[in-house]
């Protein structure tokens, strides 16, 4: 039968290292090689860095959500002793152009507001002073006269706003920045033919990653070379510095961006270009090196990393036997005042929008709405955490309306193990999986049958106890078409299709293997995973591997840790580098052993003659000889001295979106699978939720380091628990952000975590990546909200409570219980 997916052909696998048993280093929980320096206070974060003559910046932030700047008086601030300069948006514009925007058409944003402010916390002026204390004193002395404009806070109201309420009246006649509709497959027909249509209005509220370290920069400008040196904690410094260079009016070659260890990112430091442009501009204006570290309030209100904030009207078409036919929804997303990444978070969700289920078609209308809030950026899941929750909510709703067991309904519709690679209606593929095995493992680990009996008994005692099961996808190894594939096809914008990762390696004359990474560390374990993969592939001892990080001038293509890509991608680069280095090792070693290269092999850090003991040369001997004793080898460039290579690995499996957007191509195909099962008890009098038991089973393909992967799953689950139970940014009707601090934005502490957390793994290797590795950085947050929501709804099923919005904080849940009780009482 002809399908809209016929033109989306799956390319052949480029895998060179097959998944296999009996590996030496891959699969071991070795201790992290990054840790000793960090544990002793020598991690080297951005605020630890200083340069001679460095001054400090503090910001004057907007107290209004939406206002015209009538005038700014900086005279009192400038007069304060110790102040070097005070700069407005116009001042900054003399040396810096607007920030890059991946939205198409772009939405202009400047690092310091010009003419008007669009959210609380937006910078209106900056002070540079001898120290931060003086800078903050001076910021208090800057006087701004405002003309307050109507604030857009509600998504639907903002979508309909006109006149003075428009955020960007010079560029757009509406606060809706993008409104696109898609049908992937025969959506209309499938809905028309279905027996039941399940409808829900679902709301996911705004929060953000809030890594414990904020964003920061130290920038220097050299007027004679016309260039910048920029130290920062951005994830993304080595692939697209030209975008920042464009704003700073320099070529990438005139700019050196140096990464510092980042104190957590979870997406929030993926780009962080605005703070780089701001600080660099200030350094140029002030004529001194400038450090600017966001304080916590600034990180909440102005760091461009707020998470998804969506309102869905969703429909699931189901046959009377329970078969899922089609899914469609309209989604409004509150993107805040700007649109730095376009609707990339919805592009991302297209990777797995139909979940682990066989659903033949999918339709969507997406509206990106601008409001007077800080703009969105990435947060662990990058939009897919929301559609995972939506899919699982719709399945629970269908089970409820059809009177079926929610778990049986999931199992009935689950993609079978023999159906991979499986192409979903949007065109993305799931490379491999065994969802049934993951579910079976989770059920056993949790003792689901036992718990259901136990919950029944506890409920008979009048306790509100429930069990929730979620079966979700974890797409990994992102492809960049997600950034633009949902843009209007007439104005697609920057149609990037590359996401390389690379590595440079060389043996020094002592035989140590020096590795240069072209992506930074943000709390992931780049040195540990590279150690394990290179030790595996080259038979080098892990303690002989030494790490460095390049900067944007010395470095090579590296997209960095984001989209659960780093481990799988760097493994590819490690294999490519190992192949090249192995060839050189064998050529030099064979010559030293007076053998042909094809007669030798790598063995325990040696080049050894095949089949013979004691006929071997250590990598150290070969490195030393090849570095210092050129005359020991024949003439000819194949014996040029030294053992060095740089290798790049491109995305292992991606295709272009269809020109007419009948499908979006393959862009996020290395999929993991997650099953979370949780038992909760709700106190109906207070709305407090207690987790009684928790099991999580993840399939992330071949595991490089089980313990670091477990750390990712645990941490992601903690984020997901916060998203579900406590974390929400609150705005009042004036657009004031009322809880931008750690005391009132309630992130889980050790006391909020489940006591009996059981973690399991299933390994279904990818047929497309080296060794079958899949990414695993986001799964916890991709699964926990669905399971927890389901469990809470189950616990309150006797009260008739339905959960259609997150988070469910105690007051929210208490309100739902009260409403349900009043409804029941008539």
């Amino acid at each position: 039968m002809k399908s809209h997916l016929d033109t989306n052909v799956i390319p052949p696998s480029r895998q060179r290292e097959a998944p296999r048993a009996g590996l030496t280093w891959i699969g071991q929980s070795i201790k992290r090689v990054e840790d000793p320096r960090i544990l002793t206070g020598n991690g080297g974060y951005i605020d630890d860095f200083k340069v001679p003559g460095m001054a400090h910046a503090a910001m004057v932030s907007s107290p209004h959500a939406h206002a015209r700047i009538v005038s700014i008086d900086t005279s009192r601030a400038k007069a304060l002793p110790g102040v070097i300069g005070v700069y407005t948006g116009e001042d900054l514009a003399s040396v810096v152009d607007p920030c890059p925007s991946f939205a198409s058409p772009p939405i202009p944003q400047t690092a310091i507001a010009v003419g008007k402010v669009r959210h609380v916390g937006e910078v209106v002026a900056a002070v540079v002073a001898e120290d931060r204390y003086i800078a903050e004193d001076a910021a208090e002395l800057v006087e701004v006269e405002w003309e307050v404009l109507p604030a857009n806070v509600d998504i639907e109201a903002s979508a309909a706003a006109t006149g003075d309420a428009l955020l960007h009246p010079d560029d757009r006649e509406s606060n809706v920045a993008l409104d696109e509709s898609f049908n992937f497959g025969p959506v209309e027909e499938d809905f028309a033919a279905a027996d039941h249509i399940i409808k829900r209005r679902l709301r996911w509220h705004r929060s953000s990653a809030q890594a414990i370290e904020t964003c920061g920069v130290v920038a220097q400008f050299d007027p004679y070379k016309g260039g910048y040196t920029i130290h920062c904690n951005s994830n993304f410094y080595n692939f697209i510095p030209f975008v920042i260079g464009g704003s700073l009016r320099v070529s990438p070659g005139e700019m050196r961006i140096v990464p510092k260890l980042a104190g957590g990112s979870f997406g929030s430091k993926v780009f962080s270009h605005k703070i780089i442009i701001l600080t660099a501009g200030l350094a140029r204006l002030a004529g001194v090196p400038v450090k600017y570290i966001e304080d916590r309030l600034e990180h909440f209100t102005n760091s461009d990393s707020h998470g998804s904030d969506r309102l869905y009207d969703a429909e699931l078409a189901v046959d009377k036997d329970g078969t899922f036919k089609s899914l469609r929804f309209t989604v409004l997303d509150d993107y805040g005042a700007y649109l730095q990444f376009g609707v990339g978070t919805h592009g991302n969700a297209m990777a797995q929008v139909t979940g682990p289920y066989t659903i033949g078609s999918f339709g969507m209308r997406v509206k990106a709405v601008l409001t007077n809030k800080c703009q969105q950026g990435p947060y662990r899941g990058f939009g897919s955490e929301v559609t995972n929750w939506l899919m699982e909510r719709m399945v629970d709703a269908a089970a409820n309306e059809l009177g079926q067991d929610p778990l049986a309904l999931r199992e009935q519709n689950m993609i079978k193990p023999d159906a991979f690679p499986y192409m979903i209606p949007t065109g993305n593929i799931y490379d491999s999986g065994n969802f049934q095995k993951v579910l079976a493992e989770a059920k056993q680990m949790f003792d689901l049958d036992g718990w259901r009996e136990k919950a029944k008994k506890m409920r008979a005692e009048g306790r509100c106890v429930g069990v929730g099961v979620a079966t979700c996808m974890e797409r990994s190894v992102y492809g960049p078409t997600e950034w633009w594939s949902l843009n209007n096809k007439e104005t697609p914008g920057f149609t990037l299709t590359s996401t390389p990762e690379s590595i440079s390696v060389h043996f020094d004359p002592s035989g140590k293997l020096f590795v240069t990474l072209h992506s930074p560390m943000v709390g992931n374990s780049p040195e540990t995973v590279v150690t394990q993969i290179l030790a595996e592939r080259l038979t080098v001892a892990p303690e002989d591997i030494v790490f460095n990080y390049s900067d944007s001038q010395s470095g090579f293509n590296g997209v960095g840790p984001q989209g659960s890509r780093f481990t799988a991608m760097i493994a590819g680069a490690c294999v490519s580098a190992s192949i090249k280095l192995e060839e050189r090792l064998k050529r030099f070693g064979a010559h030293m052993l007076q053998r042909r290269p094809e007669d030798v092999e790598l063995r325990n850090g040696m080049v050894a003659v095949k089949g013979l003991k004691d006929q071997e040369k250590s990598f150290g001997e070969i490195a030393l000889t090849s570095s210092f004793f050129r005359l020991s080898f024949p003439d000819g460039e194949e014996f040029d001295s030294g053992l060095e290579t740089t290798a790049v690995y491109d995305h292992p499996l991606s295709t272009d979106p269809d020109e007419d957007r009948k499908h979006l191509g393959i862009f996020y195909p290395i999929v993991g699978h997650i099953c979370h099962i949780v038992a909760v008890e709700v106190d109906p009098g207070t709305g407090k939720v207690e987790m009684l038991d928790y099991a999580a089973v993840h399939d992330n393909g071949t595991i490089v380091n089980p313990r670091t992967l477990a750390g990712q799953v645990w941490g992601g689950t903690a984020n997901g628990i916060g998203t579900t139970l406590s974390e929400q940014f609150h705005y009042n009707s004036d657009g004031q952000f009322t809880n931008p601090n750690f005391a009132e934005f309630a992130m889980p502490t050790a006391n909020e975590m489940p006591r009996n957390f059981k973690l399991g793994h299933v390994e279904t290797p990818s047929p497309f990546t080296e060794y079958g590795i899949k990414g695993g950085g986001e799964g916890g947050r991709l699964g926990a909200p669905s399971a927890l929501t389901s469990a809470i709804e189950d616990a309150l099923s006797d009260h008739g409570v339905k959960i259609t919005s997150l988070p469910v904080t105690p007051p929210v849940l208490r309100g739902l219980i009260r409403d349900a009780e009043q409804m029941a009482a008539g």
């Binding site: 206070g41 974060y45 990653a209 104190g263 916590r296 941490g715 750690f742 502490t749 050790a750």
Partner: protein, 167 residues
């Protein structure tokens, strides 16, 4: 602003300085003493990343002025390890994967140090309580709890070894 003379012992070394009265202890430690291991996460006493040990107690250095530390004895993360290697708590955090980005870690270590000084054999709930004033966004806390439990055991065993050695 009139500076005040202070004298305190940091990681076993006497430090004397003239500081503005409003300078936070966290800024003094980080930027005046150049000990960058004490981290500042929230500047309002919630996250605990800036915890240092002042006269045996874990203290928020962002909620204390440097002048208030006059005459005290302070240990920061730079003062934990010795010529023999990592402190047993640091070693346990390494072995049990008690850190990812490491930003909250010095504060966690200070909380653990205070706990284990007072209670060499804490139960999991006591460990949980002891670190409940410290936020970590990476780990989900479980491996931190494992690390502190394991450090307690190692320190108890080392103590027994010490008593068994001839004087």
């Amino acid at each position: 602003m009139n500076k005040k003379a202070i004298s305190l012992t940091v990681n076993g070394r006497v430090r004397e300085a003239l500081v503005p009265p409003r300078m936070l202890l966290s800024d003094f430690i980080r930027h005046e003493l150049e000990l960058p291991g004490t981290h500042v996460g929230c500047e309002h006493g919630v996250c605990g990343s800036c915890n240092v040990v002042v006269d045996g107690k874990a203290v928020r250095s962002c909620l204390m002025f440097a002048v208030q530390a006059n005459g005290t004895e302070i240990t920061t993360v730079e003062g934990y390890d010795t010529a023999e290697g990592l402190h047993p708590i640091q070693q346990a955090f390494w072995e049990e994967h008690g850190l990812q980005c490491g930003f909250c870690t010095p504060g966690m270590l200070a909380a653990a140090k205070e706990l284990l000084a007072a209670n060499p054999d804490p139960g999991d709930d006591e460990i949980r309580e002891a670190i409940s004033g410290n936020l970590c966004r990476c780990t989900g806390y479980e491996f931190i709890i494992n690390a502190i439990r394991s450090a307690a055991k190692a320190m108890r065993e080392a103590e027994i070894q010490k008593t068994l050695q001839p004087a």
